[in-house]
């Protein structure tokens, strides 16, 4: 911002620059920045604070001001700003996003392999390294268990 101003200063006639107005704007911006940082540092307290008007407040005359002061939702125009900036920021990062998704997926896989989620004896108890398709049904297995008779086809 400073740089662009300098460029302007060089290109255009010096005398026509409203120095005072710019100075005052710079001051306001500093104040705003200070206000914003103060608000941020006290945000936790402010979030929990409940505000209400004192009895002395001229409620009927200043109703408009009161509602503005106590308003919790962002103003419609502010909502629009937020929406706009969100929209602006999405299309830029699409490719980066894909990369980071892949990176995250890989990281999860790698990290998962580092831990043992199963009981150590799991592998020993159940025999799992075999063809997945069962050939027998419940009745055939039970017949073997109770009568010792294997199905004919073997």
């Amino acid at each position: 911002m400073q740089a662009s101003q300098d460029n302007k200063n060089n290109a255009i006639d010096f005398s026509s620059i409203p120095v005072e107005a710019l100075e005052s704007l710079r001051l306001r911006l500093t104040q705003l920045a200070s206000l914003s940082s103060t608000l941020t540092s006290y945000s936790e307290i402010l979030d929990q604070t409940v505000t209400y008007p004192l009895p002395q407040f001229p409620t009927t005359e200043q109703e408009g001001l009161l509602t503005t002061l106590l308003r919790k939702k962002a103003l419609p125009e502010v909502i629009d700003w937020i929406k706009e900036s969100k929209e602006n920021s999405t299309d830029i990062l699409l490719k980066d996003d894909e990369d980071s998704t892949r990176w995250a997926a890989e990281l999860v896989l790698n990290k998962r392999n580092e831990y043992n989620f199963n009981d150590e004896s799991d592998g020993d108890m159940m025999v799992t390294d075999l063809k997945p398709e069962p050939k027998l049904n419940v009745d055939q297995v039970l017949k073997y268990m109770y009568q010792g008779v294997l199905p004919e086809k073997k």
Partner: protein
């Protein structure tokens, strides 16, 4: 005589971890209880032919199941000293004729007798069986894990059979058995309550594993009619 109410299901190995995870969260048990046992199926040495409709006095012969806890390193059947002995009756009728209405049972109901044999040093299982008039017919290993849900025991297991000096899986499937044992077969109130519990579990597991009442002929361990050798 103990009455066992049960429902059976079967699942594939690919579903195993999903099923375990679901059951863990359902029953609130972070890890299942692993178990492994050897089952010996014994048959009577002398088989008496069972004649239906005969007026002569007859008795039914049953196969006996003997179970003993084993571990990974199991090799010799003679090293097992403690055996649980079970004789299962044919499952009860699934369709009950109560007065006028026909009521279909929602669970498998089977009575069994249970006892224990502790072998002294020098005793051999075969000798004990011989004294009972039985002989070893076949044996298989069961590897599985258990969950407990209310009064229900949920067992997931695989069967291993001994073929050519090696224990191999009978099948790639994983059997699911859910059951409640009722100490007295006359305890109707408990039977009704337990039946409902099992049916509720079945509903709970819908889509994950299909629990059902198996064909009762497959749970029949009687000799006479079925096995004439």
């Amino acid at each position: 005589m103990v009455q066992q109410l049960s429902l059976f299901g079967i699942t594939t190995q690919s579903q195993h971890s999903l099923l375990i995870a679901s059951l863990s969260s359902l029953v609130g048990q972070t890890r299942s209880q692993k178990y492994e046992n050897l089952t010996v199926l014994a048959k009577p040495t002398t088989i008496i032919k069972f004649e239906p409709n005969s007026t002569k006095q007859q008795y039914e012969q049953y196969k006996i199941q003997l179970k003993s806890k084993i571990d990974e390193n199991f090799s010799d059947i003679e090293s097992l000293r403690e055996w649980g002995l079970q004789v299962y009756d044919i499952p009860n009728q699934t369709v009950q004729n109560s007065s006028s209405t026909k009521k279909k049972l929602n669970v498998n109901s089977q009575n069994f007798l249970e006892s224990y044999i502790i072998l002294n040093k020098g005793d051999k299982l075969d000798d004990i069986l011989k004294e009972l008039g039985y002989e070893r017919e076949t044996s298989y290993r069961i590897k599985g894990e258990r969950f407990y849900y209310g009064n229900i025991t949920i067992e997931l297991f695989q069967i291993l059979i001994y073929v050519e000096n090696e224990w191999i899986l009978l099948d790639n499937s994983i059997m699911v058995k859910t059951f409640i044992n009722i100490a007295k077969i006359t305890d109707l109130e408990n039977i009704n309550k337990s039946t409902q519990e099992l049916v509720n579990l079945k509903m709970e597991l819908t889509g994950l594993v299909d629990l059902s009442v198996p064909d009762k002929n497959n749970l029949d361990s009687r000799i006479g009619l079925n096995f004439r050798k």
